[in-house]
Symmetry: C2
Subunit: 215 residues, 2 copies
């Protein structure tokens, strides 16, 4: 499958490399084609690896992944051109993190909205699925690295897009995936990053993930 | 120790019974003394079990536990009389749940405030500690019933009150307890109930609790 990733940071690069290893073709998109990090990533991985603008990524992908900083997310998808996303599954793994007060961060979207919903409103013809936002990229691509079987959540308005996302999550190694409902349920999952960061700071680990235990 | 519990619902009754079994004296407080459920609870448990008004509970306890509905929490502690709480540890395990839109619930406090902070503001001389709000009472008193070692979090402005709360949590069976910082960190833990409820609805379980897994 052709996958476009918006965002060339650590998440985009590492997740993109994993998707290449799974046999997909991946285009890393940035504000402008020729981004230094994206070019280096293509040189390192070759084969199905490409780079370009946000619009290039959105046009290339049969499936899109939004992996920008939360503060840049809505602008990035708008810059990419909403028409490129029409009818496609758009996995939004961004977090509305606000570091303006220092560490630990707060969120710039409250409990009456979510960044997932903002992405969906910016891309009304796309099928946005919120997932993976409450772990670091190392757990995204290898949940078993936690030593447990962490839970993952998907929410979105389109059943087919959630099925496609769930299959991709299984390919990444996720075994416990819960469909929470519509994209509005991102209001329940986006705040998890607050606790995830705080737990990491207190325990000096960034290799943790959330699991519900029950008899 | 003398423990006052504000709230005579399932949480207050079951947690109170466990605290009696641990050797404490417990007074269940309600809006008015003579609450039918509280009287029946005293008759069932005898010994160190007592009942009375919110004010009776707050005056009786060396340590207080607020276990009302979230919508009634601030009014309950105000009705009890702030002076009764001065200098004492006040464990707030309430959730700002809003069922006005039906199930699943939302929260009536956003990410720029928390119910824990509201309780602290209502009781400026008390040492409020937020904890236990993201599990049901069956896990509160028996975390091992989950089959795992779930995580618990405490936050509050007074170190001594958090130590006392942590010891009580250990007596209840909690082994993994993280001090997140001041009472403002309740903004990170109160939203957890949103996910807890949704997971329970999807998996038809109310015996679950959150655990961070990491290598």
């Amino acid at each position: 499958m052709n996958i476009g990733i918006l965002g060339t940071g650590g998440v985009g690069q590492t997740l993109g490399a994993k998707l290449l290893a799974l046999g997909h073709h991946v285009l890393l998109g940035s504000r402008a084609a020729g981004n230094e990090k994206a070019v280096a990533w293509v040189q390192q991985h070759g084969g199905g690896a490409r780079e370009g603008s946000f619009a290039d990524a959105a046009a290339f992908g049969d499936l899109l992944i939004v992996a920008t900083l939360g503060t840049a997310t809505v602008e990035a998808v708008q810059q990419a051109g909403a028409a490129h996303f029409a009818g496609k599954t758009v996995i939004d793994l961004t977090n509305p993190l606000d570091f303006s007060q220092g560490m630990p961060p707060t969120l710039f979207v409250g409990l009456t909205d979510s960044l997932g919903e903002q992405v969906q409103r910016a891309l009304p013809q796309a099928h946005v699925v919120k997932t993976l936002n409450m772990v670091s990229v190392n757990q995204m691509i290898d949940p078993a690295s936690t030593g447990g079987q962490p839970d993952m959540f998907v929410c979105g308005n389109d059943a087919g897009a959630k099925e496609q996302t769930t299959q991709l999550l299984r390919d990444l190694g996720w075994q416990r995936i819960t469909d929470l409902g519509g994209i509005g349920e991102a209001r329940a999952t986006e705040p998890l990053v607050l606790l995830w960061v705080r737990y990491g700071l207190k325990h000096n680990t960034w290799g943790h993930a959330l699991q519900f235990v029950h008899a």
